[in-house]
Amino acid sequence: MLFIPHKHLYISGTSYVSADEPDYKEVITDANSRRRMGRLLKMAVWCGLKSLDGVPSEMVAGIITSTGAGFMKDTISFGSSIFDREETLLNPSPFMQSTFNTASGYIALIRKIHAYNTTYVQQADGFAASLVDAAMLLDDAGEGNVALVGAFDEVTPEVDAIRQRLGLYRVGDGFLPLGEGAAAFLLSAAMPTDVSESCRATESSTGLGGDDGSESDSWQSGDEAGSESASWPCDESGSESASEQDGDANSECSTGPLRESESASWPCDESGSESASEHGGEFGSKSSFCPLHEYGGTSSRSLNGTKDGNAALRFCGLANLSDLPKCAENSLAELFGINAGVNVISCADHVESLGAFRSLLPVLLCKLISEQQIPDGYTAIMDDVNEDGVIVLLHK
């Protein structure tokens, strides 16, 4: 299926985990939640929370995740225990966490986000479903909102053994290395600008967060609108200057052990004191959402931490790999109906470093964006590792 979104949709706030795990404590601050979470769940939730860093919960129109096989470690652990323990006194935690939408749910739980929430489990193709769903969601939700899109998959020794028996990712006489990872990013219909300013301006007009003292404090950086030192992400201290953010654009979306973050406050509404009932009447009411660009000043810091507003990255469409042969000369430009050349990034070229897995494309996408490796113009990221792979078209 070929899908072209109606309006321009921007990608920002990318984060990913692959191979190296971050220090989860920094982002998943509640020890009680953390101790129950399996590794993949922590990876997926970490990414989701990192991407939502500084974004008010009211702005989130939806959380949509996808996975190929889900939480295999928990599934196998619970499944084994059924037989080992002869169906008595089983630990419920791995059962609960084997549910595919646990990551989506935890992100919503920690951030108290009551908006649309769903999970697609469709091999490598679930990511396509999430992009289509996110695009439709943003159509309905209006300009000032974001959708969080996430993906995750893990490998265990059992999974590796079984996939070899099934011939998955076979190449020649051997097999591609099996990988794992998680990724998340924000999709928005508005060009991302400095969120803190626009939220500050909106807060005064709609009373957003006015009931919760700690939340309204976090939106006031104390600086003038449009000032370079307006902090991103929203910082309770308000005094963090832009230059501290300058150094490494990857600081918002690193993969290695998370270095001590200068922006200590996470998240803006962590107090969670704003109860669900306060949202009850606002659900579906667009006036309570914080428009990203309505009051945007001249500062054009995009949500992924770079300061270059011109580097705004758009999601332009997706198609199934199987759609390609139908075009003359297998032309990507023809497939997407564009009159321009298309850079191609093939997932197959990254298998050596990332491994093959069903969520490879979204993890690679976020990695490349985080490392600023998406070329100017149109780029198609092609998941030619998975049989049911998709092609995602971007424009920078």
Binding site: M1, G68, G70, N101, A128, A129, D133, A276, S277
Partner: protein, 414 residues
């Protein structure tokens, strides 16, 4: 753009097709009993479909030797009925070949019925056994197999995917289908869900201590938990009113964000999804003639859902019921199967098969009494709009509004 329900199919403990389900449920008798298909130490009553895997394969013309998860087989049985129903209602014999069809299916267990058999025997030596049993493990694998089956029988599937949000999955699939139709991404959306009983889920729910050793008693003071079930329910959604059963006029999805497996006592999440569905449908709470609840029979759900209804309907809760004592809690399939029954109730203006069973005294905190299927409903105003909800783990709440097709100028109650 109106979204029409143009075909229905279901299979569960109450019957192997829609007509059988209606007949069984009109009797007011629950068929739940301990599972027979596999060995387990857990003797809880469950809603088991009375057909074996081989019988299902035979009904679907699938070779007995072919590896197929029961989840896929139950699903295909219901989809087959829904598509046959669609062709007959719409008069479009070749419709499914020519129209662009999206197949959106919800499941929580996927092919676990096969995986756990393999796992029991071979987990210590993964080189043994038939690995093909694991090729249908994930929800996506099950949906792929179903999609291939449908394509091989001439259905033009342009898009298929699996929603897996635990007990609300079919509801989310139905919601996605209506959005895709409106977006013009397909002409027909085949939507619903399927799940089969297996030791994994039985033991999983038992480990949470929320299974009732007796037949469940939704909304009753003495309720002690849920009974699991299996089955599948699918709708065919189109933009064409020709021969349609009813309309899908509202949908809403909200996240409770309260706890991983439980609702808040106030039922915040359920209230949000119900309100969103009403808003989408452009209806006032007073326009709803009947509510099909999630009503699992657990202490937590039924109280939360009652409180949500009291709030959403401002105290004036319409007749409502839970069908779980007939079907069991069919997990991801629940909103699919129950949506089928809701659509029938609108088509026939008949609630005789929609009564709760097992109820004797109300929850003290709410005093709400569910509808128990009396025939006197026939004398009431025509059933115009029905609200149906399902709530899954991780706070996933989905609600749908179905409306009749008699007066498309206005869905308002007469």
């Amino acid at each position: 753009m109106e979204v029409y329900v143009s075909g229905l199919g279901a299979i569960c403990a109450a019957g192997t097709n829609v007509a059988e389900c209606l007949e069984s449920m009109r009797s007011g008798r629950s068929m739940l009993a301990p599972v027979r298909r596999f060995q387990t130490a857990l003797g809880f009553p469950v809603g088991e479909v009375c057909l074996s895997d081989d019988e299902l394969k035979e009904a679907l013309d699938i070779d007995r030797q072919e590896v197929a998860s029961r989840t896929a087989l139950l699903g295909l049985k219901a989809v087959d009925e829904a598509l046959t129903d669609f062709v007959s209602r719409s008069g479009k014999a070749d419709g499914l070949k020519e129209l662009r069809c999206a197949f959106l299916s919800g499941t929580s267990v996927g092919g676990m019925d096969l995986s756990e058999v393999f796992w029991q025997e071979h987990r210590d030596d993964l080189t043994g056994g038939d690995a093909k049993c694991l090729s249908m493990h994930t929800p996506g694998d099950v949906t792929s197999m179903m999609a291939h089956y449908l394509e091989s029988r001439g259905v033009n599937i342009v898009f298929s995917t699996t929603i897996s949000t635990a007990c609300s999955a079919a509801g989310n699939a139905i919601m996605l289908g209506s959005k895709m139709l409106r977006e013009g991404l397909c002409d027909v959306a085949i939507v619903g869900g399927t799940d089969s009983l297996c030791r994994f889920t039985m033991n999983g729910f038992n480990s949470l201590r929320i299974l009732d050793p007796e037949i469940c008693r939704p909304f009753d003071e003495s309720r002690a938990g849920l009974n699991l079930g299996e089955g599948a329910g699918y709708l065919v959604l189109t933009a064409d009113s020709e021969g349609a059963v009813c309309r899908l006029t509202g949908w809403g999805n909200a996240n409770e964000a309260y706890h991983q497996t439980a609702s808040s006592p106030e039922g915040i999440g359920p209230g949000l999804s119900m309100s969103a569905a009403l808003e989408q449908a452009g209806l006032d709470p007073s326009d709803i003639g009947f509510v099909n609840t999630h009503g699992t029979g657990t202490q937590v759900n039924d109280l939360a859902e009652s409180n949500a209804m009291l709030r959403v309907f401002d105290g004036a809760v319409p007749p409502f019921s839970s069908l779980k004592a007939y079907t069991g809690h069919t997990l991801a399939a629940s909103e699919g199967i129950e949506a089928v029954l809701v659509c029938k109730s609108l088509e026939l203006n008949d609630l005789s098969f929609m009564g709760s069973c097992g109820f004797s005294s109300p929850i003290p905190e709410t005093g709400l009494v569910p509808f128990r299927g009396s025939c006197s409903y026939a004398s009431k105003p025509r059933l115009r709009n029905v609200l149906s909800s399902a709530f899954g783990f991780s706070g996933n709440c989905v609600s749908l509004v179905f409306s009749d097709i008699i007066d498309t100028q206005s869905s308002k109650a007469l």
